[in-house]
Symmetry: C3
Subunit: 152 residues, 3 copies
């Protein structure tokens, strides 16, 4: 491999620029799930720590289904997206086909947003959540295997 | 955008150096929360897995408030800091004002350390935790929006 | 510090190449824990969300010990490996001895795989899990302290 990393890690490389763009979207997407959780907490007055309680009807509870649902979506993001940040960056350095790489990043981002949507905004029966999860999972595995091959 | 990434990703760029410094502090800060959790576990003899038990009074429990408090601080770090790692790196590549960027990294780091402190070292009533969380959250959103604008 | 980052972030730098290789392995390793969790879920018919249930005997439960065990291994990965991604990358930029750096990455990777193995594949009594965790934890702290020294 003789690829010049300084050419790959350049804003003239559309793959790297797409990586930065979609990773930022994914980062802000993780942060946004907090609004879904907060909406449930304030509607149902269910909080995570005793110092958060205000008013008599507020209580601490960790098993309310409406609060736990967006929290599970959040947790699933944490299980998947930081791995994407790392592997997709390594993948940029394998000098992939721009068309393929940019579409993989795009598919990943759309799939993760869809995952949150069907999990915690409008609950859609399976296999909606399973499929959206699987697209992101498959994309990450594919990129990871390409990296193993390139950097072994 | 004509910024030269090899100049931005250089140790001569004070913004990149500050990114590396504060991100390392934040990484070690996540690891340090383990001491807060461990202190509670060994004081109260409450463990997470049956193979950890030693002595008759030790038990497995997942709802002890003194153990769960630092665990929630830890979890909040995981929800926020890996996103900072990604977005702040992308932000370095937008070639921001060094003064602004370095102070954002500094504010983020101080806010996250304060968050853990008021959550799990000395419990201070709200809005202490809410505010420290909001500073970090706001900084990440601000940097993220700058990245979207730069890399769109 | 006069190290030239473009030489360090190069595929001609064996330390950076090893970083990319071992980080990818660690990323795929996090993803692989999902198989351990899924195997338990489908064997015991215990799911995380009501829309996942199919068949009369399937149920939602969050305290089954056989499902929670690989989930705890997964969670421990999330607490440790994203921090490694960040700190090990910063460590590459401290221009460390290649022999030392590559062996630290290797030790970290082996320790984390061993951690999952003794936690969730074949449960081995303590201190197996504690030791494998401690190797990874110690390696990350060591690299982090080197970074603080270099980037202060």
């Amino acid at each position: 491999m003789t690829a010049d990393v300084s050419k790959l890690l350049s804003l003239d490389n559309p793959v790297f620029k797409a990586y930065l763009f979609y990773s930022t979207i994914l980062g802000l997407k993780i942060l946004s799930v907090v609004f879904l959780i907060g909406r449930q907490r304030f509607t149902k007055k269910i909080f995570i720590s005793p110092e958060d309680l205000r008013g008599k009807s507020a209580k601490v509870k960790t098993d309310d289904p409406d609060v736990e649902r967006p929290r599970r979506a959040h947790q699933n993001d944490l299980e998947n997206i930081p791995v994407f940040f790392m592997i997709a960056l390594a993948y940029v350095l394998t000098d992939p086909s721009p068309w393929l790489a940019i579409n993989l990043f795009r598919a990943y981002t759309v799939a993760r947003i869809a995952h949150t949507f069907v999990y915690a905004v409008v609950v859609i029966p399976q296999p909606a959540r399973g499929l959206s999860w699987a697209v992101g999972y498959g994309v990450t595995w594919f990129m990871g295997l390409m990296c193993i091959k390139a950097f072994y």
